[in-house]
Amino acid sequence: MTEAAIALFVLAALIASVRLLRAPNLADRVIALDVTLISFMGAIAAHAAHTNSSQYLILLVVIAIIGFTATVSAARFLQHEQIGLGGPVDPGVPLESSDTGPTRGSNSAASEIGGAS
């Protein structure tokens, strides 16, 4: 019956992948990719129970942290992309510029953010 669990996780990953291909904007794609990733994490856990070996379980920890990094970097990219386009709403630039204060060593990034705002 663990095969059924693995099959259901792959089904969930397929449904989320369809959403990934048909999403209207970038934020929905990132979230769909997140759900795909978590479905495969569940499939890895079910596969470990199926084969009764904890060999691949360390992958779950790595995938959790890598997926978090991907989501956060995509979110930051979305905010700064809207600043560059000059969108209809002020997307809260001063909060971000006060956050990026300590990264003064990288001159190129600091001047890029300052020029865009």
Binding site: I31, A49, S54, L78
Partner: protein, 110 residues
Amino acid sequence: MTIVAEVIMIVGALIAVLAAVGLHKFATPYARFHAAGKASPVALLVVALGAGISLGWAGSALLIVASVAMILTLPVGVHMMFRAVHRSTPPTLDIDDLAPAERFARDRNK
């Protein structure tokens, strides 16, 4: 005992399917992010519980570490996506509780 573990794992897989279907079905981005950010970590926790029952303590240690990493990181990431969407789209909400806070932050930093 193994039948209990298998039933728990299938329940977790069904929760993951519901999370993926919710991505298609909900209308607004905030509702879709709720479907993804609440249901999918619960699916992973439930399947980790089932796999932990099946694997014993050696496997459960790694599964607990993976679950704690997931609980600590995934809500933060989904919250940052909420914030990015809220700041980068024109206001379409009827009641926007974040708008006064963002206005306050902008005025303070001017």
